[in-house]
Subunit: 256 residues, 2 copies
DNA sequence: GTTTGATTGTGTTATTATGACACAATGTAA
DNA sequence: TTACATTGTGTCATAATAACACAATCAAAC
């Protein structure tokens, strides 16, 4: 089926497949080159960008829907994913679209479930940047990572959703060793620290940080050191999965 | 309009007023006689009890809907209320009803939006027990407070919703001085401590508890003492609203 | 080859927060 | 007047945290 035809069908008949009035928006965090990043889609119907999102099949668990949507956008299967907030303002999506776009597709705005009010469930995901293969969706012409500090204009209330997710991530940091989901298998202590600093938005003392992280017991130091650095080579670490899981259950207390 | 007629209309035409597939369930916490309590409704269509809940008007903010629902059940206007989780299992409400009840009302199950799948947004509320006037809803024949430790059988997944709310409340305790919402204007230190102990489900040291609470600066000791106790009379305290709000913004760190 | 610069690994100390604990004071009831 | 239950307050040992310094090592510059 041609893309235009698919879009048309989605606008006119999507409500036969999906629950009306409810959507899911995902804030996908990644970490690369010492920067926290978020995955965004370039909408084809406006100059703005959007969070990857989608809808819930009539008999699908909301969590499953979020997983499915994420899988389609990132190719990733088992990722850290959880709901963090519901956005239920009736005016949240009543913003201006590009009418030309819909005219071209032959869609009348009062004719489609897609222009109804939507309540959106926000999910946030932490992914290993290096393993993601971004794929735009039907309504997007591109898919890119953006530095958190450098996010473009977003549609609807997506900016607010992103900010809420970020706040939530900061809170989580003390309970959840989020590094496991955001970093590759092996990583150095400075890299891990940089991740924490980026999320929290503040500098941390190198030595105290190391002590606290080590004390949790969730890390395992490898014998290997990083090669090719113009200074003392840092050790690689990886997460000790068994201790990591224990710590999760115990609800690791942890202040930075 | 007669109740039966109202119910009938709700089942057959409610979807003209409300969003389909989405509901709100409220966990209303109160504190009385040194016990944490929750407000429940006795369903008229089964032997079970239910959380007070309702639906979202087509142009209503979800938060407003929760407020409205709560106002109708408790008579209270300005209460501490917030969403804590979305329950999105497609099977969550596919449980057995009392068919007799619906037959009596002349409602066919495949004929009403009310038997569709619902995604429910959980809101929890902390209220001053002494100010609540419980009012059952259209589908309930009663409305009562239950001790948290002594909750009867609940419909659907309401037990799980309640438990999730309770967990959330425990987490909140460290960030939010919840006492303000659950206690009357003036209260004694032992009463406040008992509240914390009940929510956390563990005993706290009397002297350490007092020190920490006092150190936050959110309390103001009155000159008045409690009368009519067969032992040393405890002082009354009230919340220092200005410091309380400051502490909220600063995100009071606080471990028990 | 030696030096330089940047960065890592590690340990000490002062300060603060926490948990465990004891005794004097007070109001009613016996 | 005494007994009892419960409150108000303070101390001390221990644990957690923040601030801080120096030696080791790698690549690049000379």
């Amino acid at each position: 089926m041609k893309p235009d035809k698919k879009i048309n069908e989605h606008f006119l008949k999507g409500d036969e497949k999906y629950l009306r009035h409810i959507s899911i928006d995902c804030v996908v965090f990644g970490f690369h080159e010492n920067e926290l990043k978020v995955l965004l889609l370039k909408t084809s119907y406006s100059a703005k960008w959007a969070l990857p999102g989608g809808f819930i099949l009539k008999k699908e668990h909301t969590d499953e829907a979020a997983k499915r949507i994420l899988k389609e956008r990132t190719g990733l299967d088992k990722i850290y994913l959880q709901q963090f907030h519901v956005f239920g303002d009736p005016g949240r999506s009543n913003r201006k679209f590009n009418d030309e776009y819909f005219k071209k597709l032959g869609i009348k705005k009062d004719n489609s479930w897609m222009f109804d009010r939507f309540i959106s469930i926000g999910y946030d995901a932490l992914v290993d940047f290096t393993k993601v293969h971004p794929v735009p969706d039907l309504f997007s012409e591109g898919c890119e990572w953006f530095k958190i500090s450098d996010v473009p204009a977003l549609i609807f209330d997506h900016k607010k959703i992103l900010e809420t997710a970020l706040q939530d991530l900061r809170l989580q940091l003390n309970f959840h060793p989020v590094g496991y989901n955001l970093l590759p298998l092996k990583f150095t202590m400075p890299e891990l620290q940089k991740l924490y600093e980026t999320i929290l938005g503040k500098k941390l003392d190198r030595r105290n940080f190391q002590r606290k992280i080590i004390d949790t017991g969730i890390l395992k130091r490898l014998d290997e050191t990083k090669k090719g650095v113009a200074h003392k080579a840092p050790f690689y670490y990886k997460f000790d999965l068994s201790n990591y899981k224990k710590a999760l259950k115990a609800g690791m207390g942890f202040e930075l």
